[in-house]
C-alpha cells in the first residue's frame, strides 16, 4: 500500500530539498530559514506534524487569494501576520471518492482526508483502508524516540480523522482536563511512585496481551481482526511505559474548564502547544468540526444573522451557498483565526535561529469544497509552518486544472489531482520518505516540494 523509499531515493530527496532551499525558492523564505537548513536532522530541533480537519466547506470566492500571498482573502486574513509561513494548496480532489461515485459525499470524507484510502461501503458507512499521515509519521518518529504520547489524537468536535495501520479509526480524546492529566500527571508524581505504577501496569498489560492472544484464536476472521487491533493498542500502552519523561523544566499549566465550543478550541490548542513544547508528542491529529452535518452546531459568539435558522446552525448556513456567504465568511475566518492562534503559540517559542513553528507543519483540510453542494473536488488545504526549512512557505500552490490560473480563481469541478500526492509530500517534508501515499494514486506534489 505504501511505497517506502530506499535510502538511495531518500538521499536524492534530501539533496533536492536542499537545492530547493538554497536555490530559486530561497528568495521566498524568511531569512531565519537560511540558517536553519539542517533543522530536523538528529542534531537539530525535531519536526512536528499537526493535522486539522474542519468541515462544511468554505465560501470559495472569499477564501482563495488573488495573488501569491495565501492570506490575502477575507477568510484567510486572520493569518496575515504569519503570511510568510502559510502555504495554500489549491485544487486537490479526493479522487478515491470521486472514483467511487461519492462526489457529493463531503460529509463522509474524513476517512479519506488524511489517509488517501477509502473503503467504499456507501455514504456514511465508508471508512479508511489504511493509516493517516499522522499515524505514519508518528510511527516513524517512534522508531527513533519513545515519546510519552507518540500520537496525540483530539476531537474537539466530530469524528477523528486519524486511522491506524489497518484503517481502523483511532479514538480521539474529547476531554481537555483528562488530556492534561494523561500528558502531565507524571509531573506531579514522585519517581518512586511512578516506577512502581509502571511496573504494576506492565504486569497487567503482559497478562492482558497473553489473554488477547489466546482469545482471538477461536474467532472468525473479522472478529480476530478486532482482537488484533485491541492487542496492538495494548502493546502501544506497554511501549509508553518506558517512554521518555516530561522534562522537569517544562511547567505545564492546567487548562481551565471548557464549557463551550469556543473555550474547548482554545484549551485544546493551548494543550497541543504545551505538549509540543514539552516534547510529549511530535504528532497531533485534531478534528475541529463535526463532519456529518448532523449536529445542531451553532456559534452564538459569532452572532450569525442571515441564516434561515435564526440561531445560525453552521451546517444550515453552509447549505445556503451564496445567500449564506456573509455568515459563512464569518465562520470560515473564525476557523482561520483558530489556526492562527495555534500557529502563533508555536511561533512564540524560539528554537535556534527560528521558531517552533518553523520546525513544524500544520496541515488543515476541509471535508468538502462548498457547503451548498458537498463536493469532494477542490478540497481546501492550508499549510502553516516550514517543516524545518523543508517547505518553501508563503505562497499559494495551484495544482491540476487550477495551475497557472490567476486572480482569486476557484471552481467546483474536478481538478485532476488526488489528495494522495499532498499526503505523500507531507510525509517527505516530515522526513518519512514516500513515493506515494494511500491507495490508487501515486506520486508526490512536486509543485509543493520541488
Amino acid at each position: 500500500m505504501i511505497a517506502i523509499r530506499t535510502s538511495t531515493t531518500r538521499a536524492r530527496f534530501s539533496r533536492r530539498a536542499f537545492l530547493q532551499r538554497v536555490g530559486a525558492s530561497a528568495a521566498l523564505l524568511p531569512l531565519l530559514h537560511a540558517g536553519r537548513a539542517r533543522a530536523g536532522t538528529p542534531s537539530g530541533f525535531p519536526k512536528r506534524l499537526i493535522t486539522i480537519a474542519w468541515a462544511n466547506g468554505v465560501a470559495q470566492p472569499s477564501f482563495y487569494p488573488a495573488g501569491a500571498d495565501p492570506t490575502a482573502s477575507a477568510i484567510m486574513q486572520p493569518l496575515a501576520a504569519l503570511k510568510s509561513k502559510v502555504t495554500m494548496v489549491a485544487g486537490l480532489d479526493l479522487n478515491l471518492m470521486l472514483d467511487g461515485g461519492h462526489t457529493y459525499d463531503g460529509h463522509f470524507s474524513y476517512p479519506v482526508l488524511f489517509t488517501g484510502s477509502y473503503q467504499n461501503l456507501g455514504g456514511q458507512l465508508s471508512t479508511a483502508a489504511g493509516p493517516s499521515i499522522d499515524q505514519v509519521v508518528s510511527d516513524a518518529v517512534a522508531m527513533r524516540v519513545n515519546l510519552p504520547s507518540p500520537l496525540l489524537n483530539i476531537a474537539v468536535q466530530g469524528q477523528s480523522t486519524s486511522f491506524g495501520t489497518n484503517g481502523q479509526i483511532n479514538t480521539a480524546e474529547t476531554d481537555p482536563a483528562r488530556l492534561y492529566n494523561t500528558l502531565f500527571a507524571s509531573q506531579a508524581t514522585g519517581s518512586a511512585t511512578l516506577s512502581a505504577l509502571s511496573a504494576r501496569r506492565k504486569s497487567v498489560l503482559d497478562y492482558v496481551s497473553q489473554e488477547l492472544t489466546g482469545f482471538g484464536n477461536r474467532l472468525g476472521t473479522d472478529d480476530r481482526a478486532k482482537i488484533a487491533d485491541h492487542l496492538d493498542s495494548i502493546r502501544k500502552l506497554e511501549t509508553q511505559l518506558s517512554a521518555t519523561t516530561v522534562s522537569a523544566s517544562c511547567m505545564p499549566v492546567a487548562p481551565g474548564a471548557a464549557t463551550d465550543y469556543q473555550t474547548s478550541m482554545k484549551v485544546f490548542a493551548d494543550l497541543v502547544a504545551m505538549a509540543i513544547r514539552c516534547d510529549v508528542t511530535r504528532t497531533v491529529s485534531m478534528a475541529w468540526a463535526d463532519d456529518g452535518g448532523s449536529g445542531p452546531y451553532t456559534m452564538p459568539f459569532l452572532s450569525l444573522a442571515g441564516s434561515t435558522m435564526s440561531i445560525g446552525d453552521v451546517h444550515a448556513v453552509a447549505h445556503q451557498g451564496a445567500a449564506g456567504y456573509p455568515d459563512k465568511i464569518k465562520i470560515d475566518s473564525w476557523y482561520m483565526g483558530q489556526l492562527a492562534y495555534l500557529a502563533q503559540a508555536l511561533d512564540s517559542t524560539p528554537e535556534g535561529d527560528g521558531t517552533m513553528l518553523d520546525n513544524s507543519l500544520i496541515v488543515m483540510g476541509n471535508d468538502m469544497s462548498e457547503g451548498s453542494f458537498h463536493s469532494v473536488s477542490a478540497i481546501p488545504y492550508v499549510l502553516v509552518g516550514g517543516a524545518g526549512g523543508a517547505l518553501a512557505a508563503g505562497r499559494t500552490v495551484r495544482v491540476g486544472s487550477w495551475a497557472g490560473k490567476t486572480g482569486n480563481y476557484w471552481s467546483s469541478g474536478n481538478t485532476g489531482v488526488a489528495n494522495n500526492r499532498l499526503l505523500a509530500s507531507i510525509c517527505n517534508l516530515m522526513d518519512v520518505p514516500m513515493a506515494s501515499f494511500g491507495t490508487g494514486y501515486t506520486g508526490t506534489l512536486t509543485e509543493l516540494t520541488g
Binding site: L121, G123, L125, N170, K226, L237
Partner: protein, 573 residues
C-alpha cells in the same frame, strides 16, 4: 445509487456487506442533512416508486426454521460496562461515562467500537479505579479468609469464584494459571501485600477480553452442531439473556441454570426470560431501548431558538426524556403493555417545567401521571421528546419527523438521494411550514427523498419545534392531513392522532417494531438466515392483545437468539 443522502444508506448495510475489521462507527445515527436533505450539482434521481422494498424489516417469505444468522463479536457497551461492574463489584460510579461514545452511525442501537489506544487507556484507568475502590470492602468479594486458608490458597479460590463471575463462565485451567501467575508476580516482583495483589487481579480481569467481549463459550467446550448452525452453550445463553433484558451480567440463579444445563430448550429460556423481566433492571433496558431506537439522546444537543421558544431550557429538556422513559415503563411494566397504548395513550408523566409545553398545570419536579387532551396527544410519537428532537431550532420539521416514522416505525430505508436540491424557503418568506416544504417537494430533484418523508411528517404540523400544540403556523391555519402507504394500500389521515391510530393497528408496523427488538437483541441487522426468527418474534406481537413483554420473551426463544451460524474463518466449529 451512491449519491449523497444522509442516513439514506440504511443502517446495517455494512453488516450485510461484511464489515471489515476496523470499520467503525462514525457520528450519530441520525445524520439528517440539516433541515433540508439538500445537495446541489448534477443530475437527479428519478422516482423512488413504492416504498417498502429493499431494507424493509418486515418479514417476507417464510424463513428456514433451522437457519440462524452469525454472531459477531461484541464488546460491552458503555451501559453494559457500568451495569456489569455494578453487579460484579457493587460499584455504581458509572466509570464508562469516561469512555468514548458507543453510538454507531451504521446502526440504531449502541455498539462499542474497536479498542484503539485511547480506549485501552480509558479501560485501564477504569479498571485501576474500580480495583482501588473495591479494596476497602475486599471481604465481600473474597470467598475465604486469608488468615484461615492462607493467602495464596485464598487467592486461588478468589480466581475461581470471582473469575467465573467476571468472565461469566467457569475458567479453564490455563486461564486460572495465567491469573495465578499475575498474582504471584504481584506478590514477588511487585512486592504487593495480599489485598493489593487481589486488586491487581481485578485490574487484570477487568481489562481481559473474557470480561470485555461477549463470547462466553468456555474455550474447551466442544461446539454443539445442529445441522449447519451451532447451538449456543449454556453460559452464552445466560449472558445473552441477562444482557438483553438487564443490560448486565447474569445473576446467581442464571449462572446456576447454566451450570445445570437448564437453558437448552425454548421453554427453559422462556422461564428465565420471564423471571428477568420481573426484575426492576428490565425497566431500565426498556427505557434504553426507546432512547436508542428513537435516538432521543440527540435531544441534549438540540439548540432551540430562545426568542421563539422561551419555555425551552435544560429542565424542560431533562423532563422530556424522563417523561418518555416513565411513560414506556408504565405502559409495558405497570399497564397493559400494548402497542396501541404506547401509540395511543392519552396520559403521560409530566412535571411542572414540562407542564408549560403541554399547557397543563402540574406542581413540582417529580413526573406525575397526568391526563392529556385526547384531541391533542396520543402516545410517544406526540410527546415533546420526539417532537423536539425531530423539530428544527425554529419550527417543525416535516422531513425529519417523517423520516423517523418512515425508517424506525415502518422499517423502510430511504431511497438514494437526489443531487440538486435547493434549500426550502425560510419562514420569513411567508406561508406555513407545510406550504414551504410542499413547494420544495415539487422540485423534481427533491421528490426522491422527500415524497417518502414529508407527507408523513406533515401529520405532526400541529406541533411546533419543541412539541407545543398549535393550530396556526406563521399566522395561517395548520393542515396536518396526509396519507401514507401502509399494509399494501394508501391510508389517509387527518392529523397525528389519526396517524398513530393507523400505526397502532398496522400489521406492518407491528412487525417492524418486533424487528427493532430483534436488532436490539442481536446487535446487528437481520439477514436472510434470520427470517424465521423475525417471523416468530413478529407473530408474538401480532394482535392487539399481545404485549411488549411477550415480544421480548419471544425474542429470547427465537432461533437466532439461541443458535448461530459459524463465522467465516472460524476454525473450531
Amino acid at each position: 445509487m451512491d449519491l449523497f443522502c444522509p442516513a439514506a444508506v440504511g443502517r446495517g448495510l455494512r453488516e450485510r456487506l461484511g464489515a471489515p475489521a476496523g470499520a467503525r462507527a462514525r457520528g450519530p445515527a441520525l445524520r439528517l442533512c440539516g433541515w433540508a436533505l439538500a445537495v446541489a450539482a448534477t443530475g437527479c434521481v428519478g422516482n423512488i416508486g413504492q416504498p417498502g422494498g429493499a431494507g424493509s424489516g418486515a418479514a417476507g417469505a417464510a424463513g428456514d426454521p433451522s437457519a440462524a444468522g452469525e454472531m459477531p463479536l461484541r464488546r460491552l457497551t458503555n451501559r453494559e460496562y457500568d451495569n456489569t461492574v455494578r453487579d460484579l463489584l457493587g460499584d455504581d460510579t458509572q466509570p464508562a461515562d469516561q469512555f468514548a461514545s458507543d453510538r454507531d452511525s451504521t446502526f440504531a442501537f449502541r455498539r462499542a467500537g474497536d479498542v484503539a489506544v485511547q480506549d485501552a487507556t480509558l479501560l485501564r484507568t477504569a479498571a485501576e479505579s474500580l480495583a482501588a475502590a473495591a479494596l476497602p470492602n475486599l471481604k465481600t468479594l473474597l470467598p475465604c479468609d486469608p488468615s484461615a486458608t492462607g493467602e495464596d490458597a485464598c487467592a486461588l479460590q478468589f480466581v475461581g469464584t470471582f473469575g467465573a463471575r467476571a468472565f461469566r463462565r467457569p475458567l479453564t485451567a490455563t486461564e486460572t494459571s495465567d491469573l495465578v501467575s499475575l498474582y504471584t508476580t504481584g506478590r514477588t516482583t511487585l512486592k504487593l501485600a495480599f489485598s493489593d495483589a487481589i486488586g491487581l487481579l481485578i485490574e487484570g480481569m477487568l481489562q481481559s477480553p473474557q470480561f470485555l467481549y461477549h463470547w462466553e463459550a468456555p474455550p474447551n467446550d466442544a461446539p454443539v452442531h445442529d445441522g449447519a448452525v451451532l447451538q449456543l452453550g449454556p453460559y452464552q445463553v445466560a449472558s445473552r439473556l441477562s444482557y438483553f433484558i438487564w443490560g448486565s451480567m447474569p445473576d446467581q440463579a442464571l449462572f446456576a441454570a447454566a451450570a445445570a444445563g437448564d437453558l437448552a430448550t425454548a421453554a427453559q429460556v422462556e422461564a428465565q426470560a420471564r423471571r428477568l423481566l420481573a426484575d426492576p433492571k428490565a425497566r431500565d433496558t426498556l427505557a434504553s431501548f426507546f432512547a436508542d431506537w428513537l435516538a432521543l439522546d440527540g435531544l441534549a444537543a438540540r439548540t432551540k431558538d430562545a426568542t421563539l421558544y422561551p419555555a425551552y431550557n435544560d429542565a424542560v429538556q431533562t423532563a422530556m426524556l424522563g417523561e418518555t422513559s416513565a411513560f414506556v415503563q408504565n405502559v409495558v411494566f405497570d399497564g397493559d403493555g400494548r402497542w396501541s397504548t404506547l401509540l395511543g395513550a392519552t396520559f403521560s408523566f409530566i412535571n411542572q417545567p414540562l407542564g408549560g409545553i403541554y399547557g397543563v398545570t402540574v406542581q413540582g419536579t417529580d413526573l406525575q401521571r397526568t391526563a392529556l387532551d385526547p384531541t391533542q396527544r396520543a402516545g410517544f410519537l406526540t410527546q415533546p421528546s420526539f417532537l423536539a428532537l425531530t423539530g428544527s431550532a425554529d419550527g417543525s420539521n416535516p422531513p425529519r419527523r417523517g423520516k423517523a416514522v418512515y425508517t424506525e416505525l415502518l422499517c423502510h430505508q430511504l431511497p438514494p438521494p437526489p443531487a440538486n436540491v435547493p434549500a426550502p424557503m425560510p419562514a420569513s418568506a411567508g406561508g406555513t411550514t407545510r406550504q414551504r416544504f410542499t413547494q420544495h417537494d415539487t422540485n423534481a430533484c427533491t421528490a426522491g427523498c422527500h415524497t417518502a418523508m414529508d407527507p408523513i411528517g406533515f401529520a405532526f404540523e400541529n406541533y411546533d419545534g419543541i412539541g407545543q400544540f398549535r393550530t396556526m403556523d406563521n399566522e395561517l391555519p395548520v393542515d396536518a392531513s396526509g396519507s401514507l402507504w401502509l399494509d399494501g394500500a394508501t391510508r389517509p389521515f387527518t392529523n397525528a392522532i389519526d396517524l398513530t391510530n393507523l400505526l397502532a393497528s398496522s400489521a406492518e408496523v407491528r412487525a417492524c417494531f418486533a424487528t427493532q427488538w430483534v436488532r436490539y437483541a442481536l446487535l446487528r441487522t437481520e439477514t436472510d438466515a434470520d427470517q424465521a426468527s423475525l417471523q416468530s418474534a413478529a407473530a408474538s406481537f401480532g394482535g392487539d392483545q399481545s404485549t411488549v413483554r411477550d415480544l421480548m420473551v419471544a425474542v429470547t426463544t427465537m432461533r437466532s437468539f439461541r443458535y448461530r451460524s459459524p463465522s467465516p474463518g472460524e476454525t473450531s466449529p
